[in-house]
Amino acid sequence: MLMITTLLGIYASGAAGEPQVLRWAADTESGAPYVFFEANDPSKMSGFEFELIQQIATHLKMTPKFVQNSWDGLIPGLERSEYDLAINGIEITDERRRIVSFSSPYYATQLQIIVRAGDTRFKSISDLNGFKVGTLAGALTEKILRDEPNIEILPYESEVSAHQDLLLKRSDAVFFDGPIAKYYSSVDTRFSILPAAGGSATYGMALSKKKTDLLIKVNQAIQHLTDSGALKELYERWGLWNEPTAQIFNDSSPTRIRPTKFEEYLASLNLNRGFAERLKIYRLSLPILLVAAMTTIKVSIVSMILAMAGGLLLVTARLWGGPFMSGIVVCFIEFIRGTPLLLQVFFMFYALPSFGIELSPFIAAVLGLGINYSVQESEIYRSGLSSVHQNQIEAGQILGFTRWQNFWFIQAPQAFRIALPPMTTDFIALIKDSSLVSVITMVELTKAYSTLASTYYDYFGFAVIAAILYILIGMPLVLVSKKLEKRF
């Protein structure tokens, strides 16, 4: 046993001499200025945290490897082995400290209240009581709003949609970290940032509590980058050097460097993209969308096969497994049918590891989808089977078929014809539901769409492309089903 552990240890740490991999996770969806894809070339990553990780990895002589995960899932995902650390404006809080370790702070920021320009109703957080306020779901800002007695909180996944809703008067204010306020609010004259901050936050990289060695190394790297001035320079380039960060770094020297990165970002925003320019962006984005579509296809096909096999198993156990078996199956069906698919996928991925079962994202995705849909398939098969005329079954019995022969040769083919249209509908629904697996680090079509759309503020053009891709994915299914319907 000891030997196996040692061997695994050697294997995990890589062969001697080769650089180790530093797997880091973030959410690129409306990720500027933290971690995002460059507007000029969506295959290139950028962001101040992206650069920070590169520098840390260089210092540690490790190779950085990026893992995409939805923001909510970043911390739970640390309990699994897909990535070593999460960095994405994660505020150091006592609640989170109970679950994960934090590196020493690498950035500090004030929390800003943003209103529509010209709206003078609010001066501070307490003025927002009785109004609707948008913020990022799960962020410290949300928690601060929740501590107020009477604020209606609108939690968002993306900064961009929160800002749009503010303009559309669906909310009265939004509440965000400084970098978001700078990159999304200050760049648009329709917004105004209240001078008084609504609080402050410090960012730390989150690691699993088990990774004590890596934590020490990362902290040393942060210390080194702070001492050498590299970190300050980085923040200055992004226009993000501020008073709170100066305090934690104990560095009150004046800024020296032009915020070139912020200027680039501004330029890319002000770019009035013509049609040709847009087409170029779509062309550049297409590979990203196609790779994501492949993930959608792979997940869907494997889940479908699983759902069909599982459905068949469930329906036969229910109809012919005896009262005990059928009771178990009914309970199982009601349980799966009665709980949200999202919850099931989360459970597979984030909860099972605490029982020692760690599934890869792909396996967790297809198991979650496959089991969920096998329940629906089994109900479709049951309705198909019960529509087969009793005389057909008895005729088979008298002709000497065994129960299984009767099922395979007589009932199943007839039930299949009845079940085919609802099966097709069910599987098209499955393809669309596969977008849920983005919560477990998989970049599928919908995730790629929302990331690209928020990068370019182009929710329409990319939606059209994604919709076309979804229809193309579902098309073969529809054609096969039409063919089969004719045959049977």
Binding site: N391, I398, L399, F401
Partner: protein, 228 residues
């Protein structure tokens, strides 16, 4: 070779049961079971065909036997030929070639040689019933049970079925028919079983049945008059 039933009873716990039924039928005979709806004739037929549990002092039914239902006999998803061949191949272990030969033979017997490739819904009602009989014949049955075989057919098509049943007598096949069709007693039945409330009230030769007639209750007579 004969059907020999002694003291057959069947009680499935509902308010209906079959009580103490005994009769005998010899080779090549046609028996018609008569009785009003709910008298138990279909239940008796289902017992004999093994589709309903029962107890009996003796129960001798020559095997193999086949059964023809009122409708939906032929498997909907298979052609007529496939309907006939599937049991030969799957349950009798016959080769495809043998099954093919038997299929041709029985289709000729029921005069449906040209309809082998048709799906059941493409056949007329009479053709469907003759097809069902052909499928039964393919297994060389000693007994055929019929449950209302002509009630979905018009009188002319019913005659086709009766002609066919008549022809099968000469092969020694015992045929037990549940039917409301008044023609059947006059045209083809050798024996009549008359049922009421789950009991076999009378069993005997068809030509003797009318002699028993005056002995029956009045409301029963009203129903049975139709069979005169």
């Amino acid at each position: 070779m004969k059907i020999d039933i002694r003291n057959l009873s069947s009680d499935l716990g509902s308010n209906f049961s079959l009580k103490d039924i005994s009769f005998e039928v010899g080779a090549g005979q046609i028996v018609t079971l008569l009785g009003r709806s709910g008298s138990g004739k279909t239940s008796l037929l289902r017992c004999l065909a093994g589709l309903r549990p029962f107890s009996a002092a003796a129960c001798n039914i020559p095997k193999p036997f086949g059964m023809v239902f009122q409708s939906s006999n032929l498997f909907n998803h298979l052609t007529l030929s496939q309907n006939i061949k599937i049991a030969l191949v799957k349950t009798q272990g016959k080769s495809k070639k043998e099954a093919e030969n038997i299929c041709d033979q029985v289709l000729t017997q029921v005069q449906l040689t040209h309809r082998g490739d048709a799906l059941p819904h493409q056949l007329s009602g009479g053709e469907q019933q003759r097809g069902a009989i052909a499928r039964t014949l393919a297994l060389s049955p000693k007994v055929i049970f019929y449950d209302e075989p002509t009630s979905a057919l018009d009188p002319e098509l019913s005659l086709e079925i009766y002609d066919l049943m008549n022809a099968l007598k000469s092969e020694g096949i015992i045929q037990v028919v549940v039917s409301h069709d008044t023609q059947i007693v006059k045209k083809i039945a050798d024996n009549v079983g008359y049922m009421k409330n789950g009991e076999l009230r009378w069993f005997g030769k068809a030509q003797d049945f009318r002699l028993e007639f005056p002995k029956l209750e009045q409301e029963e007579q009203k129903y049975l008059q139709l069979y005169q």
